[in-house]
Amino acid sequence: MTTVAERTQRLAESWEEAPGLASWFKTVDHKKIGRRYIWTASVFFAAAGFEALALRTQLARPDQTLIGPGAYNQLFTMHGTTMIFLFATPMLFGFGNYFVPLMLGARDMAFPRLNAFGYWVFLFAGLLMNASFLFGQAPNGGWFNYVPLTGPEYTPEVNIGFYTVGLLFLGISTTAGAINFIVTTFKLRAPGMSLNRIPLFVWAVLATAFAVVFALPALNADNAMLLLDRKFGFHFFDPAAGGDPVLWQHLFWLFGHPDVYIIVLPALGIVSAIVPVFSRRPMVGYFWLVLANVATAVISFGVWVHHMFAVGLPQLSMSFFSAASLLITIPGGIQIFAWVATMLRGRVVLATPMLFVVGFLISFVAGGLTGVMFGVVPFDQQITDSYFVVAHFHYVLFGGAVFPILAAVYYWMPKITGRLLDERLGKLSFWLIFGGFNLLFFPMHVSGLLGMPRRVYTFLPGLGWEGWNLASSIGAYVVAAGFLATLGNLLWSLRRGRPAGDDPWGGDSLEWATSSPPPPYNFAAVPVVHSAYPLWEDRFRERLDTAQGSPGRQLAGDHEVLRTSELDAEPERAIEMPEETVVPLVVALGFLVAFGGLLAGWYLVAALGVPVVLAGLAAWAWPRREEVAR
């Protein structure tokens, strides 16, 4: 009979990855991969932020020539593309990667190697797209890349190639990540965590993952068709040969609108994780929040034409989409009411994470209000493509995603690093960012209504736009200062922050039941839950500690995880997780060679990537010796 100590030793040994450089390339640990997503996404955020500062500097005054029109087009295209594809979703997937298994009481994601692969593809695709700057040929057709401007006739240069190939490549990572989240959430929950006890952050990630599964194909089809048109003479978007440029728009927004919810939903999930803890009470309306998350994800597929209200489509079809666009506010509003009700009926603690949540509430609601205005077709047709649109989407995206991400940084970094951040510096950072953000984007509502079009590299004086633009540009620098404060806070906390301990905030979910940072095996024993707020159940920690005494709960076999049933989370069996391996990296490199070769037009090189991918996949799928023996 083994003792608890012996089993714990075995547990630690089977889960620890070898230290050293080789391990860095071979890791399959969701916590390491999650951290990498977060840090890499932060670098891309900084890059896109610098792009924005350049744009705002150019627009601070009329008639400036700091940045010419060609460079300006590349900067705003890459700013949008990087923020959306290389920062927002990867950052949120990073937090998801780290915390979904922990919140579920699991030891890793369902497919650890797929997880590693997804990160490498994200890194390589992001580098590939940004490498375009080295050639001075970054994508320059706007982040939604409309044809015919981006077609072979008007942009034969390789700029758009970086866009189409880069996003096709990146799409593999996003889809892989989504599938991983879905299967993990279905099968690796702690016993007792039936559907109605899944943490709201996990529900949000699940809804997002389903949206990815259904939305990415539209973008992939679109980019594939554009690639074929541009490089191989196909005619999907060529009206002279029976094609239609509007098809690009339909497919793009069929992806693009769900994509904004793919960005916002996990962020709203972060808010749902933070509000109960900092209101010191369970969420008012857990049920309504689950409904709202799922309904939003579903309805997001039925509103895409509202991005095309100025294209000249028949009124009747626009009305379908207008109806859904107006009604999608219902689930959106439900979430807001649930959070506010929880705060009103609780005892709010305004620590930095909660401050960022309040900032989110104000900004996201403001952005939502202008969004509803766009649902009304006649109004939309007046302000389409003006700065009013730019104001709206920055309020919902910055407000709806960046603020919650900052809240998550302050809330969850202590769990990740084991050190608390400084509260005063956090509050300073918040006020700089919140104040700067409003100074930056609020004036755009006005300049938009005054007729300033978006995507212009300069503007004439005397139109009444000068003051608003100058205010925005000043705001941009204030925001930048605020981010520097948070960065400084993070760096400082790594050295000098107070140790966080297991549970600095008095949290409700399972990540707070283990150390900060968690051991490689996350939990010494499989937790059993009886509510959606396990840490707030009576004597939860005692019961979890006692569970270590039972081998069935401790699960100290070789790298074992407990598989449970899909709806009611009843234990099924222990499954063995793969060890660290370099195969995911090799397959990702194979894809890089294939996509890179395709981009460059070196088809022979591209073809070389294919056997690498196939061999890598075969090695991946080959059973481990222990599996065959069984």
Binding site: N196, Y286, G302, F320, H530
Partner: protein
């Protein structure tokens, strides 16, 4: 006789899924079919606002009625199932309590009641959207453009 009981036993959870997702699927079909029919009827090569000789108004009206009815059916079923699972308060089993072990049936019933309530609310929302979409028919001429 046992055959029909067996069939009913196997169909029962699928009926619950219909109660949960019926409106979602109905609305999706309504949107895509309605939009698709409209694109066809109003395309430059179409003779009139009709598809296969039937007017667009009739098509969309029929879609709205049929799919609306499906959603109502799913909603009624959801209501019935929620009542059967004890008409539980939505927070039952969700809020933290004593943490004592619970029998499987309690967990399962709570989860099923949660699903039924979800279906009830979802079907109401999607019915609203189907009706709104169909209503526009009464206000707009088919194939009018701005």
């Amino acid at each position: 006789m046992s055959g029909t009981v067996e069939l009913r036993r196997r169909a029962a959870p699928l009926l619950l899924w219909f109660a949960v997702l019926g409106g979602v699927v109905a609305w999706s079909v309504h949107l895509l079919a309605g939009w698709g029919l409209e694109e066809i009827a109003c395309s430059p090569v179409s003779a009139g606002p009709n598809v296969l000789g039937v007017s667009l108004t009739v098509w969309i009206g029929a879609l709205t009625v049929v799919l609306g009815a499906v959603t109502v059916a799913a909603g009624l079923l959801a209501w019935r199932f929620w009542r059967e699972e004890g008409a539980a308060d939505p927070n039952t089993g969700i809020e933290p309590g004593s943490g004592d072990p619970e029998p499987e049936e309690v967990v399962r019933g709570g989860r099923a009641g949660f699903m039924a309530l979800f279906g009830l609310a979802a079907n109401a929302l999607f019915l609203l959207m189907i009706v709104y979409g169909g209503l526009s028919l009464l206000l707009l001429r088919p194939c009018a453009r701005t």
